[in-house]
């Protein structure tokens, strides 16, 4: 038994776990901002929306759909020039961030749009009848009223992101995926693959747990 884990290097493992967290959390923050912007744009420009605009809506929807359709692994490759320009390197956790954000923001944007559509039209109308500005409607009605759905959507996105970080790791982005692939799989050190996998599963559970907890806390309906 002791022999099975002989290839593990605690220092490397900690480093890889840290990188996975780093990539997930930073890209999640980027996804949150970009996704909310996309979701709001989709919702507000839709028919009967406050900024109703057929063309803007169509363009946004097209961009979102295209980026959601491209498989992540191909997206990373396509984004190489852009990444290089932006972060000056193609390796390491930071290099993975643009691809991670661009892959998950459209996905989260759609979830945001769905969440906003669930907000009671009557409440928006009530805010209008009180003389609310559009900004007030967005920040004091739409976002707070859809908060549980926004958080549970973010949880789903975070879990997809953890999967993406592992995939990005396989082409050199660092993190647990990278560790499992280069140090485990390629050298046939199965203990490394096993431990990395278990750690990723634990991280997924952790995000799910925190997400569910916050969603439940927020929901006063």
């Amino acid at each position: 038994m002791g022999d099975f884990f002989s290839n593990l290097d605690t220092q490397d493992l900690i480093e890889a776990t840290y990188e996975t967290f780093y990539m997930t959390i930073v890209s999640l923050a980027g996804t949150l901002i970009l996704g909310i912007m996309l979701g709001l744009l989709l919702y507000m420009t839709d028919k009967d929306g406050i900024w109703q605009n057929k063309y803007l809506n169509l363009i946004t929807a097209a961009v979102v759909n295209v980026f959601r359709a491209i498989p992540f692994i191909i997206l990373i490759l396509l984004l190489f020039p852009f990444t290089n320009l932006l972060v000056g390197t193609l390796r390491g956790p930071t290099a993975a961030l643009p691809a991670l954000i661009i892959a998950s923001a459209p996905f989260y944007g759609r979830l945001v749009e769905i969440a906003l559509k669930e907000v009671d039209k009557g409440v928006i109308e009530a805010a209008k009848s009180m003389g609310a500005k559009t900004r007030t409607i967005i920040f004091k009605v739409l976002l707070p009223e859809s908060m549980p759905a926004l958080v549970s959507g973010l949880t789903v996105t975070a879990i997809a992101l953890i999967g993406y970080t592992a995939m990005a790791g396989a082409i050199g982005a660092g993190g647990l995926g990278n560790y499992a692939y280069y140090f485990g799989f390629q050298r046939r050190d199965w203990d490394i693959v096993l431990v990395s996998t278990v750690l990723i599963v634990i991280i997924v559970f952790l995000f799910q747990f925190i997400g569910d907890y916050i969603t439940k806390k927020l929901d006063k309906r």
């Binding site: 009671d120 009530a126 209008k128 009848s129 003389g131 908060m147 006063k220 309906r221």
Partner: protein
């Protein structure tokens, strides 16, 4: 005063045109409770929503006080809306905010400072009778309590006008009555004009001063509630009056009453406002040597007094009965019809 001139709204959906409000002209006095009644699809909701331009009119004018609502630009409209409260059938509260934060919302929109807000919210909570429930979320309240929050919220910026779209339609009869009492209370205390939309005649009967009956986007009849109740002209209006007064099957039963009660004289009394029936009956009994037997009747209370009919049998010697009937005809505002026997 609110004057509405030639107001109309045409919806275009799937190339079909629906005229929801059709060249409507109306004026509403300051400080009155004005009711608009009509069946589903008559255009009532569209009509109130045109008043604060939640719906853009296709044509016509709305003038409130000195302000012409229909020509305001969007910024001026937003500011003017703070002077027009609105309450809704389904309350439309923010579930994510507590009672006090819901009531504070319009104050936040108006840019009132936090300390001022707190004070105001507390006064409003007391006004609508929700003390102790400040920290509750809407989901923890009953329908009636939710509507009280809705009313407090609508009153937060001291509006001059309150628009109510089916404000009691989702509530049970008892809760409806308590909300209506609250509206009358507010109307008297704050002197604000209330425009109330409903499809229930008893709501009109209970609190309105004047009423307009709406059908296919038009006002087909309007006037003081009592007049409309006592002399409904249009078929729709008659049907609405029947909601409260029951159907007019009295004439059928009159023959039956005449056959059954052969003694004395049977009279039908029409009460139209002011005088209360109890006082008349007891006066008759005291002043004249007659027995009064109430056979049938239906009386409803409106804001302007009682309205309804009562069929009574007057027994005694003929001279006393005649004195009593001429007293009713000459000294009171009650209308009387006599039948057979005497």
């Amino acid at each position: 005063m609110i004057s509405i001139e030639g107001l109309s709204k045409i919806f275009t959906s799937d190339k079909k045109k629906i005229t929801a409000v059709d060249d409507l002209t109306l004026s509403i006095n300051e400080g009155e409770i004005f009711g608009v009644i009509g069946y589903s699809g008559a255009g009532k909701s569209t009509f109130v929503r045109l008043l604060n331009r939640l719906e853009e009119p296709t044509g016509g004018r709305v003038v409130m006080g000195e302000k012409e609502i229909t020509t305001l630009n969007s910024k001026a409209l937003r500011l003017t809306r703070q002077d027009i409260g609105m309450i809704f059938q389904h309350f439309n509260l923010l579930w994510s905010r507590t009672v006090e934060d819901n009531i504070a919302f319009p104050l936040e929109i108006a840019g009132i400072s936090k300390t001022k807000r707190k004070e105001k919210v507390q006064n409003l909570i007391n006004l609508v009778g929700l003390s102790g429930r400040e920290k509750a979320y809407p989901s923890q309240l009953s329908g009636g309590q939710k509507q009280r929050v809705g009313i407090a919220r609508a009153l937060a910026n001291d509006p001059k006008v309150l628009l109510c779209d089916e404000a009691t339609s989702a509530l049970d009869p008892e809760t409806t009555n308590s909300i209506l009492d609250l509206l009358v209370d507010i109307n008297e205390k704050l002197g604000l004009t209330i425009i109330l939309i409903t499809h229930e005649m008893h709501v009109i009967r209970k609190i309105c001063n004047r009423v307009a009956v709406m059908e296919s986007g038009k006002i087909v009849e309007q006037g003081d509630v009592l007049d409309v109740f006592s002399k409904p002209k249009q078929l729709v209006t008659k049907k609405f009056v029947e909601q409260v007064m029951g159907t007019n099957d009295e004439d059928d039963s009159m023959d039956y009453l005449l056959q059954t009660y052969e003694e004395g004289k049977i009279v039908r009394l029409h009460f139209v406002g002011e005088i209360t029936n109890q006082a008349l009956i007891s006066q008759l009994a005291k002043q004249f040597e007659i027995e009064i037997n109430i056979l049938q009747g239906k009386i409803a209370q409106t804001q302007a007094g009682a309205y309804g009919t009562l069929i009574v049998q007057l027994e005694g010697n003929e001279e006393e009965i005649n004195k009593a009937t001429s007293f009713i005809q000459d000294e009171t505002s009650v209308e009387m019809e006599g039948f057979g026997n005497g």
